[in-house]
């Protein structure tokens, strides 16, 4: 893990869980795994404080534990970098659930994200009691069950039952229980809501958001959007059905390429579910168009069933991350540098003189841009020394420019981490610096809201609102705009981060 990534994770943890959690997380990042006593010593916090931090982080699935190698009775804790970075995507998760299941779905997701993991009945009761538009409890229960069936919520592993109490619980769960909906009796839930003490059947099973399933949707969305941009909405719809067919035969996170999908299967699915007549009429042409595109979303592998196709995830994400890299180069150094980068990529190994010819860039400018690209590590030099020379003068060498895609992705990931760290730090600074004003405005807002509910006169409300002076209001507006821009930037950088993470996943062995 890079330094940038560690710093970013620390600042995220601080944002959500406070300074104590950051101290513990910092140590866990730097040392891999540690036991409780060493954490207490190194952080200068009390044992109770460190224990509470660890308990909270375990509840949020950010920290895992396992028996120490040297002593089975002492647990060692380690932090999950990926899970911490996923916290940046919480707004996107909630938005996706909102589009799929409406307000009820987003409220349930929000409650689970806020508590890390929770029993189904508790989540439903909390959402029901805090909801403003008062959906029925049955609506919450049904949506919860549907979300479990669609694999958006997953059951947490349970401790293995033993006769004597254990020091380190062994958490496990059978595969078939992961997505089995809980038994939720509405009558019992109503009783609990009214304050009666009754036994809840799902009291010991905890649920959490299944981030993998959400990432699967984000991944599909990236590909479908790319198809839509290149070939139009109907082609995107066609590709969506191809992906649906793929999931019926292939594991969602299978690397390389999927199991074959036939033209007939896609056609039947579209005829059943789609209303797009144009797509149905020209389906074969759309599939051919997608297959022949240079990004290579699908590849034809046979003629059985009207044509057999495979989805090549690895190739798609290689190409998309490459396009993203080119865009970054264009933004940083201009279109000519991007052209040089493309030339080097297409030729694999190329000499300086050939670059300027192929890219059609004047000699001096080409040299300058090549140097800049090399300095920023977007391109590399491979030196090939000519054999011989025999001591009479320096041996002649060839300097070939080349591209190392994996290294570029790693570097861009680091840049994204750093940019995110800067954005979050700046946002925190703005909030800290204007804390008094922000608190004042929040307090005023809540007072005004309460007054409106009570039906106070408009004049009186205006008088209260004037407590915030015009200069203060101006400063506050500026600060809010800055924080909003930084939040938008965080989300935009996270998009890039996700794309590169997908590239790394499909290129990992």
């Amino acid at each position: 893990m890079s330094i940038q990534c560690g710093e970013l994770c620390a600042v995220i943890i601080k944002q959500y869980f406070g300074e104590n959690a950051q101290k513990v997380a910092d140590l866990l990042f730097s040392s891999g795994s540690r036991n409780l006593s060493s954490l207490v010593k190194a952080t200068n916090l009390t044992k109770a404080q460190v224990s509470m931090v660890l308990a909270v982080l375990i509840k949020f699935q950010l920290v895992t534990f396992e028996p120490s190698f040297s002593n089975e009775n002492i647990p060692e804790y380690s932090i999950k970098k990926e899970a911490v970075l996923q916290m940046l995507r919480y707004p996107r998760y909630v938005h996706l659930m909102h589009t799929k299941y409406g307000t009820v779905g987003s409220t349930l997701t929000e409650e689970l994200l806020r508590s890390g993991s929770q029993t189904a009945s508790q989540v439903i009761l909390k959402c029901f009691s805090s909801a403003e538009n008062k959906d029925t409890m049955a609506a919450y229960r049904d949506t919860f069950v549907q979300m479990v069936r669609d694999n958006y919520l997953i059951r947490c592993p349970m401790p293995r039952i033993t006769e004597s109490p254990v020091i380190i619980p062994v958490l496990e769960i059978e595969q078939h229980l992961l997505f089995r909906p809980p038994d939720l009796d509405l009558g019992k839930l109503q009783k609990l809501q009214s304050g009666a003490t009754t036994e809840v059947p799902d009291g010991d099973s905890y649920w959490r958001v299944n981030f993998d399933r959400l990432h699967q949707d984000f991944r599909d969305n990236i590909m479908t959007t790319a198809v839509e941009r290149k070939m139009g909405a109907s082609a995107a719809e066609c590709f969506k059905y191809i992906l649906q067919q793929m999931y019926e035969k292939t594991d969602a996170w299978q690397k390389d390429y999927s199991n074959p999908i036939t033209f007939i299967e896609v056609k039947q699915a579209i005829e059943k579910k789609s209303n797009n007549l144009e797509l149905m009429k020209n389906l074969d042409q759309y599939i051919t168009l997608i297959a022949e595109d240079n990004i290579g979303f699908i590849r034809k592998i046979g003629e059985t069933g009207g044509g057999q196709y495979v989805v090549e995830m690895k190739k798609v994400f290689d190409e998309l991350s490459q396009v993203c890299t080119e865009n970054i180069i264009t933004e940083k150094f201009g279109s000519k540098a991007s052209r040089i980068f493309r030339v080097i990529r297409s030729k694999r190994f190329i000499e300086q003189e050939d670059i300027q010819k192929e890219a059609m860039v004047p000699s001096k400018e080409a040299k300058l841009l090549t140097y800049k690209l090399f300095e920023e590590q977007f391109i590399q030099i491979k030196t090939i020394r000519k054999a011989g020379g025999g001591g009479s003068g320096p041996a002649k060498s060839f300097f070939l420019f080349t591209i190392n895609e994996k290294q570029i992705v790693r570097m861009l990931l680091d840049m994204s981490y750093k940019a995110l760290f800067n954005a979050i730090s700046r946002s925190s600074y703005e909030k800290r610096d204007n804390k008094r004003l922000i608190d004042k405005s929040q307090k005023l807002d809540s007072i005004v809201e309460a007054m409106k509910e009570r039906g106070e006169s408009e004049e009186y409300i205006a008088e209260i609102l004037e407590t915030l002076t015009p200069p203060e209001r101006e400063v506050l507006e500026k600060v809010k705009a800055r924080i909003k821009t930084l939040s938008s930037a965080e989300l935009a950088i996270d998009d890039t981060l996700f794309l590169f993470q997908m590239h790394q996943y499909y290129n990992s062995s």
Binding site: Y16, F17, A21, S115, I167, L171, E375, Q377, S488
Partner: protein, 215 residues
């Protein structure tokens, strides 16, 4: 990439490579001698951020969620030790806020966590467990000693044993006071023996503390 400065990735071409690139004389970039500016001017205008209702929804939701998290019992800040002599006007508001935060209870599923994290938990099981094998070990040693004693009795006559026993007791008596004397000598004569200080040992301790490198 660590420690290579802001934005500079630290790679540069060698003289030979620069010559091949055709850079000679003034074309060769000068060696940087000062750190780059904190906020360098942007060479090109950055791409404008997406401004849609979805983006607005997400940014607003995030701010709201962060506020909720900050007010939740899961947000763990270090305890602030206020000087009790100083009374501040703001204290009353801070206390009200803190109390409202404590009202919401921390819900931790302790059965899913290691027992040592639970409040008021003591490691009892571990303390009792190792005593059993220790007893066994002691018994084994005692048995072994008995066997050895019996062997000695058979092999040697009791007179020799008595002589040996008295010798060893005397040795022990001699050793113990010697150690005590040494300690006393050290304490008393410490100043006289190590009085001279030529100053070379100054700051020597810092080097030996293994606190990590000093920059």
């Amino acid at each position: 990439m660590a420690g290579r400065g802001r934005g500079r990735l630290g790679s540069s071409l060698t003289q030979e490579q620069l010559q091949v690139l055709g850079c000679v004389g003034k074309d060769i970039p000068s060696v940087p001698t000062a750190p780059p500016p904190t906020f360098p001017p942007l060479l090109s205008k950055p791409v404008p951020l997406e401004n849609s209702t979805v983006q607005d929804y997400m940014t607003l939701w995030k701010e709201d969620f962060l506020t909720q998290m900050r007010d939740s019992p899961y947000h763990l800040e270090p305890a602030v030790h206020n000087n009790s002599n100083i009374q501040r006007y703001s204290d009353q508001f801070v206390n009200v806020l803190e109390n409202s935060k404590q009202k919401s209870k921390v819900e931790i599923p302790w059965h899913l966590m290691p027992a040592e994290l639970r409040p008021n938990w003591k490691r009892r099981k571990v303390a009792t467990a190792p005593t059993l094998p220790k007893k066994k070990k002691e018994n084994l040693i005692e048995d072994r000693l008995k066997v050895l004693e019996q062997k000695e009795k058979i092999d040697e006559n009791p007179e020799k044993q008595a002589v040996h026993g008295s010798d060893s007791e005397e040795e022990k008596e001699e050793e113990e006071p010697e150690i005590d004397e040494d300690d006393e000598m050290d304490e008393e004569n410490d100043y006289g023996n190590n009085y001279f200080d030529n100053g070379e040992a100054f700051n020597e301790e810092d080097d030996n503390l293994d606190d990590g490198p000093i920059y």
